[in-house]
């Protein structure tokens, strides 16, 4: 399998008051293979969105390196147009990510103009129509405004806008969390289909573990800026090892009573990323805490079985 993206020890600290930092992402290393869907899972404040943006250098990492296609892109001064074209993003909220005073054709087409990818207006419209149809929408929407569309349709437009530049890689930042479940199913099936047709690689950011099970090949579970567990989706789901992952699994509401296990209800809330707990970040809420080591030493990611990494002292 070919590696498309590699992150090495990425950190992103946002300055906060005097001499303090919000450690949003604190030392994350992952590898994303070409044509994979990579799931980035975590609760709010875990740093998943920040990581997604750092990856595209929409915000600059504090330290660490990003490799794209084997080339280090964290060192170059500015992402040039050619590179930007290859990496796109679909945002969470389709109600705020589309310009309210632009028509759908301009929203989808403006990238084409910027990158001089079309020669004339006819070609532009033709290409916009093709992508609009690709995401399952008719040409009648071309001259409409975003407020005339439903949430699902808007998200389709956002997807068309990202894909029309023919990217290799798309960050999907909670693309379905503001949509109803039946619409969510529609959008996810569309994204899966497009990956096959256009040879895409996705980073799929979500807080919904079950979604990652259905669509991703690999997942990383984040908590307070660090990766807790990481590996092949199938292995992680079959044998969740980190106490945090296990707790998360147990509290997801399930339709089928037979699938429910005893709930591990975590005490308290996620601590502040300004002053994260020393040692393992999860130790303040962990039910399997072994002792002092958890409070003092931060566990590193260890490969417990093939392609399954866990950062926990239980497995030392």
């Amino acid at each position: 399998m070919e590696e498309l993206i590699q992150l090495k020890d990425i950190k992103k600290y946002f300055p906060w008051k005097k001499q303090k930092y919000v450690k949003a992402v604190d030392g994350v290393s992952i590898t994303v293979n070409r044509r994979d869907i990579f799931g980035l899972v975590g609760e709010s404040g875990s740093g998943k969105t920040t990581l997604g943006r750092v990856l595209l250098r929409l915000i600059e990492p504090t330290s660490g390196s990003i490799f794209f296609n084997g080339k280090e892109i964290s060192k170059i001064k500015k992402i040039d147009k050619n590179l930007r074209k290859k990496m796109q993003i679909v945002f969470q909220d389709p109600y705020s990510s589309l310009h309210p005073r632009k028509k759908i054709k301009d929203i989808i087409g403006s990238g084409l103009r910027t990158h001089h990818m079309v020669k004339n207006e006819d070609e532009l419209i033709e290409k916009i129509e093709r992508f609009l149809n690709l995401v399952g929408m008719g040409n009648e929407h071309l001259f409409r405004y975003p407020h005339e569309l439903s949430g699902g349709q808007r998200q389709r437009v956002a997807i068309a806008r990202a894909l029309i530049l023919n990217p290799e890689f798309v960050v999907l930042d909670e693309p379905t969390s503001s949509l109803d479940v039946s619409v969510q199913a529609e959008i996810l099936n569309l994204l899966k289909k497009l990956r096959e047709e256009l040879n895409l690689t996705y980073i799929f950011i979500t807080h919904d573990l079950f979604l990652t099970k259905i669509i991703t090949e690999k997942i990383a579970i984040m908590y307070l800026g660090k990766i807790m567990e990481y590996g092949d989706t199938e292995r992680v789901f079959k044998n969740p090892m980190h106490p945090y992952t296990r707790a998360l699994f147990s509290v997801i509401p399930r339709l089928d009573a037979k699938m429910r296990s005893k709930k591990i209800i975590l005490k308290g809330e996620i601590p502040s990323p300004v002053n994260p707990p020393l040692g393992c970040r999860f130790h303040t809420r962990c039910i399997n805490k072994i002792g002092e080591i958890c409070e003092k030493t931060s566990p590193s990611l260890k490969e417990i079985e093939e392609n399954h990494f866990v950062a926990c002292h239980l497995y030392d």
Binding site: D180, Q184, A185, L211, V251, I252, P253, A257, I265
Partner: protein, 322 residues
């Protein structure tokens, strides 16, 4: 066990008069909730679940209008009652409500303790000191650590989960007969959601509170409620006990909804084709028929009646009509 009826909604119709036309938000909804029950009302955006709750609290406001129907609560007909009387004796006393965004629902310039005391002072004949004491007790009841400290803090200092607990404490202060929870955990993380849901469940078991939970998430309902009503485009399409709805759903919409929810077992998600109709011009007959795989000619013509399919399990679909 004999079940005592607490709330009955009969043939409720609500329209909203907008510039675009008349939005037919509720199309004759029927619902019964018994005392001590944890009832879930499920549906997607725009299905009318929140409008139903507003109608019960007499909060349907211009341009909305309750066209017809009856809402009978503890034997009294709410729609015939004087508005002022409802405000004094029902809303905020007998029926209380917690909302999706607790921080927006709390007053930002009054500290948490005083907000709860205010509710106590307004509804009960007690003095300030007693109210303060009761406030701390209430905060403790909803599992807030260090209630004295939280009572002195302001809403902006609380996390979403904490703020929702403060809301719940406030709404319990009057010992309501019915607590309406409108998407109480939608804005919360799963681990916090689990805490709040288990708290609500405790209230039903320990304090015999009746809860009407409104949510878009059928899995949440499956885990917490006793009975469920599924709504679609202003119609109640299926009502039954949780197990009946999850494992033996009869209405094609409920089935579609269940299939589109990601679970451990699902390999792919099955979508419901088409999209939710515009309620200015809702489809004739059964409002689900344009998206239904089983639609027959009759579905376009008449509105299907609620039929009892098995004990306590009702569905409004022509498939089951003889």
């Amino acid at each position: 066990m004999v079940q005592e009826l607490l709330l009955e909604i009969k043939d409720l119709e609500v329209n909203f008069y907008t510039y675009r036309g008349v939005v037919k938000a509720l199309n004759g909804v029927n619902l019964k909730i018994n005392k001590g029950e944890f009832f879930g009302l499920v549906g997607e955006t725009g299905c009318g679940k929140s409008v139903t709750a507003s109608a019960v609290l007499n909060l349907v406001q211009n341009p909305g209008k309750i066209e017809k129907g009856e809402i009978i609560f503890q034997g009294k007909e709410l729609l015939k009652m004087d508005k002022e009387e409802i405000r004094k004796n029902v809303r905020g006393k007998e029926i209380t409500m917690i909302m999706q965004y607790p921080i927006a629902a709390l007053n930002p310039v009054v500290n948490n303790g005083d907000q709860i005391s205010e509710a106590l002072l307004a509804n009960k004949n007690i003095n300030k000191d007693e109210a303060k004491k009761r406030t701390i007790e209430l905060l403790r009841e909803v599992n807030i650590p260090e209630p004295e400290k939280i009572a002195r803090q302001y809403p902006h200092q609380l996390s979403g989960g904490m703020a929702q607990r403060v809301m719940i404490a406030m709404m319990l202060s009057t010992k309501p007969a019915l607590l309406i929870a409108d998407e109480p955990t939608t804005a919360l993380d799963v681990s916090i959601q689990a805490q709040v849901l288990s708290l609500l469940k405790d209230l039903v078991v320990k304090h015999k509170t009746t809860i009407l939970l409104i949510t878009h998430d059928l899995s949440v309902v499956a885990e917490t409620c006793d009975r469920v009503g599924v709504m679609y485009a202003g119609d109640m399409v299926e009502i039954g006990e949780v197990d009946q709805i999850i494992h033996n759903s009869r209405h094609p919409y409920t089935r579609g909804l269940i299939n589109s929810i990601p679970s451990e077992k699902s390999r792919e998600l099955i979508e419901i084709r088409g999209s939710v109709p515009d309620l200015v011009e809702p489809p004739t007959g059964c409002r689900f028929h344009p998206r239904c795989d089983y639609a027959k000619p009759i579905c376009k013509k008449g509105k299907p009646q609620m039929l009892e399919i098995e004990k306590n399990h009702f569905a409004a679909c022509f498939l089951y009509e003889k």
